[in-house]
């Protein structure tokens, strides 16, 4: 059989498998994972647009807001600027017991927000006295891009694509074994490696399409409520490059995790073991020696992300350490490195698939 004929077989297998991956009931959860951020970004966009409409009826001149100083009382502020767009009070319950409870009690807080036509002014009171005042745009594009970077790196790469690929690629062989249908594929006149390639291709196409479009839609919805001028500048400078690299990172994450979970599905019966191990391995990757860092999917794909994610300064030291990105490689090295890692894993998988046996009794 010629290689061209084998390639046609790969495509036939992938085509048949694709229908199952895209339209099976189980895929609902993968779609949910991929498009959940888009729903949240959409809600955020609606909220920003709604607020913008609402605020325009309650504009307070910036000169009035400039005159307000820290140390002013709530009453003074409300007399000078009687039309806040938002007024929120917090009276925490006292729960600390013991003799030092009074010293450590949390003060009553009040947040007032004003709109001067272009910026939102946020005033923070403690026990009725103004502590801080800051003005910022209703929707900060830079901040939103940072948030998206965080969503992409922490949610998409570490959770959604990770668990999504776990579901999709484990299902390709181990799922068929559990369904007692793997023999159907083993009884076709195709090399096991061809079968592996076909199934991997199907999983990869599905994962890239689902997660790529999820990430792209989230990105588009993040841009939706932004100021048109800022958007114009963004597209003229970094826009296309950001879209390209986020898409590339999502696709390469699917390539990498897909191969790892496909191989795990062939080598191990229990997916929890690789899931826990790989999750742990990827989490601690940032603190591993340089050589070991290169045996991680995140090491390569995080290097492709155009915006570094924000780090919560309140996060515990250990968490910050674990989430710290590894020493980043260059983009070319990241792509080639990940492809080399994938090729290595797929080679191991191709060895395993040759020897895998249909033995449903032990599942």
């Amino acid at each position: 059989m010629t290689n061209a004929a084998r390639l046609r077989q790969v495509w036939t297998i992938a085509r048949l498998q694709l229908t199952r991956v895209f339209f099976s009931k189980r895929s609902f959860w993968v779609y949910l994972l991929a498009f959940f951020p888009a729903v949240i970004f959409f809600a955020h966009g609606v909220e920003v647009k709604f607020k913008r409409d609402r605020y325009t009826s309650r504009v307070t001149p910036s000169s009035v807001l400039d005159a307000i100083r820290a140390g002013d009382s709530e009453g003074d502020v409300l007399r000078q600027a009687p039309g806040p767009v938002s007024d929120e009070r917090y009276r925490p319950r006292r729960r600390r017991r013991g003799p030092d409870a009074e010293q450590q009690r949390t003060p009553d807080r009040r947040f007032l927000a004003y709109w001067d036509g272009s910026k939102r002014w946020e005033l923070n009171f403690e026990d009725g006295i103004l502590q801080t005042k800051r003005a910022r745009p209703l929707n900060d594009f830079e901040e939103d891009r940072q948030v998206y970077a965080g969503v992409f790196q922490y949610f998409y790469l570490r959770l959604a694509i990770f668990f999504g690929c776990l579901g999709i690629f484990m299902n390709l062989f181990r799922g068929e074994m559990l369904d007692k249908t793997l023999h159907f594929w083993f009884l076709i006149p195709a090399r096991r490696e061809v079968l592996l390639a076909g199934k991997y291709l199907a999983g990869l196409i599905a994962a890239v399409v689902i997660f790529g479009s999820g990430a792209a839609l989230s990105f588009a919805l993040m841009l939706w409520p932004q100021d048109p001028t800022a958007l114009q500048t963004f597209w003229a400078t970094d826009g296309l490059s950001h879209v390209f690299w986020y898409s590339a990172a999502a696709a390469l994450a699917c390539v990498g995790y897909g191969s790892v979970f496909l191989a795990s599905g062939l080598l191990l019966r229990n997916p929890i073991i690789p899931a826990v191990t790989i999750l742990f391995w990827e989490s601690i990757n940032g603190i591993l020696p340089a050589m070991l860092q290169k045996l991680s999917v995140l090491y390569y794909v995080e290097a492709l992300c155009p915006v570094p994610p924000p780090m919560d300064s309140n996060a515990p030291l250990l968490i910050r350490l674990l989430a710290a990105p590894a020493e980043p490689p260059t983009a070319a090295f990241a792509v080639l490195g990940l492809l080399a890692l994938t090729a290595l894993v797929l080679f191991v998988a191709s060895r395993a698939v040759r020897n895998i046996e249909v033995n449903y009794g032990v599942e």
Binding site: F36, L166, V276
Partner: protein, 287 residues
Amino acid sequence: MAVYKRGYQRYQGPLTSPASRLLVLPRFAWERLMQQRLISILFIVALFWPTGCALFIYLSHHLDLLQGMGGAATAKIFDINAEFFFIFMNAQATFAIILAAFAGPSLIAPDLSNGALPLYFSRPMSRSTYVLSRMLVLVGVLSPVTWIPGGLLFLMQSGMAGWDWFSANWHIGAAIVAGFFFWILLVSLVAMASSAYVRWRMIAGALVLGIFFILAGASELANAVLRVEWASAFNPTRATLQLWRALLGLEPFPGPDEYECFAALVLMIGLLAAILNRKLRPVEVVS
């Protein structure tokens, strides 16, 4: 009716009590679980942290053993208070999730995938009894790594610190037991609902982990994008920690308070119970 009269006679001897019948399933399940090497290893690993905490409590009452480390600063480090027990509970909660992910799905998924439910339900056993007996298995598995070591640590501290400490802090002991029981209930329901939902033992285990990790990620995502804090209530771990802080009398985390978190957790428990109710039926649906 000749055949009936001659050949069939209903059993009229004594039956075991419903309570003891409830324990039949857990008894066999415990035995089977304990034969798994991985579960044994996880058990042992899960007891490292309580052992370390016990050592810490001991040292806190014997600071003289630490040569050259006297003084108020050291005493503060070794202060055994509600925060100490909160940290202990936090770590053990993670082990409980991992143990439930490995042990939980083997309880229900095989029954569903092998069509064994009709066999159970053709006995004097209702669906709620079945769920309860399966949950008892997880209570038995998770207790030795949660409230039992927690309670022992509390008793150890009480014994070493004296009656005054106990009378001032008895609520910590109650919080440990109540908090962990609530956590066991939640984790068990997640494990059982996952295995009832996917019917695959192996996949259900991964799903248990996925639910806890992904809900945590999704709630943080919603908080970050919408610039809110209420989404933390839908992170079961975070919501439970908030509840525990309230039970322990600690300052709450920022975000939804303990009542809101409790409401979200009750909602989640209701949802999981509904999944079990829908999936645990002695019928086969051909799709």
